[in-house]
């Protein structure tokens, strides 16, 4: 009898999870098409498809294929990478408040990108840029682990992340301060705001391979994150190799976040919010969470990037500004609702 219930509850969980993934895929696809249709010139869905196939008017072909398509693709790729990074970090650290942006990775990546531009080492379309951003992200995470120690509490990680974020922000400000001319300053400001405007398929090609590496690394951590529900010792006793796992997550997050920042600047809070939205539907299983979090991240960033085009304003609001405006209060709310258990655990 119990066997029956265990089998059926497993089947129910599988169905719920499959339904969630199907729903999120449809949502992402819908937002993708909407992203091609929405903007300064509204294009009806039929024309969008004709434009995609290169069979619309010249203007529509150019708007859909060269202006909006790269933007829509990047929203999906970067959103998915951020959602997945957040879910993986939360799994590794066993804490729902973990996210790439809380550990300074995006700010460090942005600084590295800004520095290479400010120093004139590279132009904005060079492959050196995502590489520099990744090195920045990797260095920040490495520094974090170095400062906090291998068995650091979540509180220490957060504090060290805050310090590293502040350092990266200060260095970026310095670069802004010392910018040789207003154009360079403008260029640098872009990295701080975070936007998908005016990207080309070249940007997609630049970031996509590194993000693919990140996905492979992070999606492979599912069972280990599950085992970590029981703490590090129990997980190790179940056969999880903790040191390679940490490396896998660090490299994955650095590659994904670095590649994202290199083409879009810093876009925060997607990694914090996305896992949170899907977790209750997945019985709080940190392994099953990974793929739906990626899809939720893609949907969130896709929706945000459409929203910035619809909000009436003099100049378009940058999508990174919008995600921070929504994400930061969400973070505050999350702390507020969880403050009892946060106080209960010895950090």
């Amino acid at each position: 009898m119990e066997g029956q219930s265990l089998a059926t509850s497993g089947a129910t969980a599988r169905r719920t999870s499959a339904a969630l993934v199907a729903f999120l895929c449809a949502l992402v696809a819908g937002l993708f098409v909407a992203s091609l249709a929405v903007g300064a010139v509204a294009i009806p869905p039929g024309d969008v498809l004709r434009g995609l196939a290169g069979q619309g008017t010249d203007a529509i072909n150019i708007i859909v294929r060269e202006i909006r398509l790269p933007r829509a693709i990047l929203a999906v790729l970067i959103g998915a990478t951020l959602g997945l990074s957040g879910a993986a970090l939360q799994g590794l650290l066993r804490n729902p408040l973990a996210a790439p942006s809380l550990f300074g990775a995006p700010s460090a990546a942005a600084f590295a990108a800004v520095a290479t531009i400010a120093l004139g080492w590279t132009d904005v379309l060079s492959l050196a840029l995502p590489f520099a951003a990744m090195v920045g992200a990797f260095a920040s995470v490495g520094l974090l682990i170095l400062v906090a120690g291998p068995r650091a509490s979540f509180l220490i990680l957060i504090l060290a992340g805050l310090a590293i974020s502040s350092l990266a922000a200060a260095l970026t400000s310095l670069a802004l301060n010392l910018a040789p001319n207003p154009f360079a300053a403008l260029e640098i400001a872009f990295w701080l705001l975070g936007s998908l405007e005016d990207r080309s398929l070249r940007h997609v090609g630049m970031a996509a391979p590194f993000m693919a590496v990140a996905w492979v690394l992070l999606l492979g951590g599912g069972n280990a994150f599950r085992a970590l529900t029981l703490g590090e010792d129990a997980a190790a006793s179940l056969g999880v190799r903790l040191v390679p796992l940490r490396l896998r997550v660090i490299i994955g997050v650095a590659a994904g976040v670095g590649a994202g920042v290199a083409v879009s600047g810093t876009i925060g809070f997607i990694g914090l919010v996305a896992p949170h939205l899907v977790r209750p539907f997945l019985r709080h299983d940190p392994g099953r969470l990974l793929l739906p979090s990626a899809l939720a991240g893609a949907a969130l960033l896709g929706a945000a990037d459409i929203a910035v085009r619809l909000i009436p304003s003099q100049s378009e609001i940058k999508v990174g500004v919008l995600t921070a405006l929504i994400g930061a209060p969400f973070f505050i709310l999350l702390i507020f609702t969880r403050r009892r258990e946060l106080m209960g655990t010895p950090a």
């Binding site: 509850s9 529900t229 029981l230 010792d233 190790a236 056969g239």
Partner: protein, 260 residues
């Protein structure tokens, strides 16, 4: 059921944070026996258990299973042979109890999303043995301390390893559940597993264990049948307490009485 558990430490020393926490510990486990490790706080009990589980590298000596050094056994293979229950019984996510218990099947290559019949049966047996089946669907974080302890134990049983190492499995449990948990572990030993528990309650340890190992300052100071090991002299020396010891029909009763 034939079990060939033969985890053994030989001259084992472990260094943690630059300090030699245990020194020259040689313990050979035997299938079918329940061993209780006792000792004052900081004596190195948890360290011995973690080293036996292959979670700490020896600074000297060795931990071996069936004569093969654990350092040369793949973690996945080791995980099927040795199950380890850490103290504290923490669960970081509010997963349903059944999913938590199923984590014990990870070393067998089970995926939580699709348990094979063998995995499902192991999970069911473990939940029945510990009496947690009735709240299989509840989020584990909403359970009481006693319930959580049994879920943690069920997770360990689900591994179906031939060696089970349980660190303070009954601490913070009420008397009834202390007996429930120790009975489960003793039955496991009767079924041919090698069971090691770290216990603080000397009376419980004496009654449930076939063999008692006393650690003091990182060294084994006594190892043998509980009757013989728990002398008032040893209690005075190791724990710094005068103990009251009464011989009853069911064996000796040992109660710490006052400070030396």
């Amino acid at each position: 059921m034939t079990k060939r558990a033969a985890v053994a430490t030989q001259g084992l020393a472990v260094v943690l944070g630059g300090r030699r926490v245990i020194e020259d510990v040689s313990i050979r486990l035997a299938p079918g026996a329940m061993v209780a490790i006792v000792g004052p706080n900081g004596a190195g009990k948890t360290t011995v258990l973690r080293a036996m589980a292959g979670l700490l590298p020896p600074a000297a000596g060795d931990v071996a299973i069936d004569g093969t050094s654990l350092a040369r056994v793949r973690p996945a293979d080791r995980a099927r042979r040795i199950a380890y229950l850490p103290q504290g019984h923490v669960f970081h996510w509010p997963m349903p109890v059944a999913d938590v218990v199923a984590l014990g099947r990870l070393p067998h290559g089970a995926s939580l999303t699709d348990l094979r019949p063998a995995d499902r049966h192991a999970v069911e047996r473990a939940m029945r043995a510990t009496g947690v089946a009735e709240f299989a669907d509840r989020p584990v974080t909403t359970l009481s301390g006693g319930e959580r302890a049994r879920v943690a134990l069920a997770r360990v049983l689900a591994v179906e390893a031939d060696t089970v190492l349980a660190d303070e499995p009954v601490t913070s449990l009420d008397p009834r559940y202390q007996l429930v948990v120790l009975d489960i572990l003793r039955n496991l030993a009767r079924a041919g597993h090698a069971v090691v528990t770290v216990l603080h309650d000397l009376g419980l340890a004496a009654r449930h264990a076939d063999r008692m190992i006393v650690l003091s300052s990182g060294r084994v100071v006594a190892d043998g049948a509980p009757d013989a090991v728990l002398s008032t002299g040893l209690l005075r020396e190791v724990f710094g307490v005068e103990a009251y010891r009464a011989e009853t029909e069911q064996g000796p009763v040992v109660v710490p009485w006052r400070l030396v």
